[in-house]
């Protein structure tokens, strides 16, 4: 059961962030960036699909679609950072940058998991995440080291989103037990390298790293911000209105 829960945690974060990014489709600041953001979204949907398919195998009854579309808000275990609203382009870039840096380190470690499916899914995702991180880092630097206005805007983005980063490095008992079995990643231990990636890029971008404050948490327990409810309403609309509709 705990392996199923762990797999859902990973899949849910990719799924919810993919759905968020999909909102940029036709709304991107330029045609090129519109496609870049939706490419990232599609990558994340693909990753979510892999993990939710595995969850379905572990569950034995529910399908990946059931997991994606037929749960209530408090049954999703994604990190809160993946569900917050897109805001302006700078907000989206900062969120994606902070999360991609985390995911890059996370999948590197998960690729060595004793669970062969998790490790294969992680290895496959890693290449995609590496590009996401590169793309977002160049935007952080471009906007941070751009004009006064772009610097101020993106500085306020990072100040605003920072409180969602603490959760990325928190472990509860379920994960601690799986870490002992060398299945799960010890996310606490990723913090040091994550700090290095973030600090290097922020320095280059002439941005200030916000002070650690009280961090928001709850995703892994199914406790979410008010933003998730609306996102799910839209994402689940078709499957709820037309149950088991086929393409």
């Amino acid at each position: 059961m705990s392996l199923l829960n762990y797999t859902l945690r990973i899949g849910d974060s990719s799924l919810i962030l993919a759905q968020r990014l999909a909102e940029w489709c036709t709304n991107g600041p330029t045609l090129e960036e519109d496609i870049a953001l939706t490419n990232i979204s599609l990558d994340l949907f693909g990753q979510a699909n892999g993990f939710l398919e595995y969850a379905a195998t572990l569950d034995g009854v529910k399908t990946a679609d059931d997991f994606a579309f037929k749960r209530n808000e408090n049954q999703y275990y994604n990190f809160l950072i993946t569900e917050i609203e897109n805001g302006h382009f700078g907000d989206t870039i900062i969120r994606q940058f902070l999360f991609s840096a985390y995911l890059y380190l996370f999948f590197q470690k998960l690729a060595t998991s004793k669970d062969e499916v998790l490790s294969a899914l992680a290895a496959k995702s890693l290449k995609e995440i590496k590009y996401h991180l590169k793309h977002c880092s160049s935007w952080v630097i471009r906007l941070g080291d751009g004009t006064n206005e772009s610097n101020e805007k993106i500085q306020s983005s990072i100040n605003k989103i920072w409180e969602y980063t603490g959760e990325l490095f928190e472990l509860d008992q379920i994960e601690k037990d799986l870490v002992k079995k060398e299945i799960a990643v010890n996310r606490e231990a990723l913090k040091f390298e994550w700090d290095q990636i973030i600090n290097t890029t922020l320095n280059q971008a002439k941005l200030m790293r916000p002070k650690d404050q009280v961090m928001k948490t709850g995703g892994s327990k199914g406790i979410h911000t008010k933003h998730l409810e609306l996102l799910l309403k839209e994402m689940q609309f078709i499957p709820r209105k037309y149950p088991d509709a086929k393409w």
Binding site: I35, A36, K134, H135, S138
Partner: protein, 94 residues
């Protein structure tokens, strides 16, 4: 999109060893952005193994008014085609 944003021409090499082919263009403010935009627009379906981008303004093109003097003289010089040679076996991309 700012007025100062450049247009860049995109050339994609589909396989190592083959020539880069013109694929289209992208808008970008710097070369890194141009390369990433080209990657995101033109290699989504496995088209590429290498990308070149070059600012459109850096490309020198022949003018259509010169086309007679540039190209017509080659019309009647059949002997310039290498059709009189036997190709060695195994030679590719000729």
């Amino acid at each position: 999109m700012k007025e100062t944003t450049n247009v860049w021409e995109v050339f994609i090499q589909s396989k190592n060893g083959l020539a880069h082919k013109h694929a289209g263009n992208v808008h970008a403010d710097d070369k890194e952005m141009a390369l990433q935009n080209a990657r995101d627009l033109y290699t989504r379906r496995n088209e590429g193994s290498c990308i070149w981008v070059v600012k459109s303004t850096d490309i020198v093109s022949s003018e259509s008014e010169d086309s007679e003097s540039f190209f017509d003289p080659a019309n009647d010089k059949l002997y310039r085609h290498p059709t009189f040679y036997n190709l060695p076996e195994g030679a590719k991309h000729i």
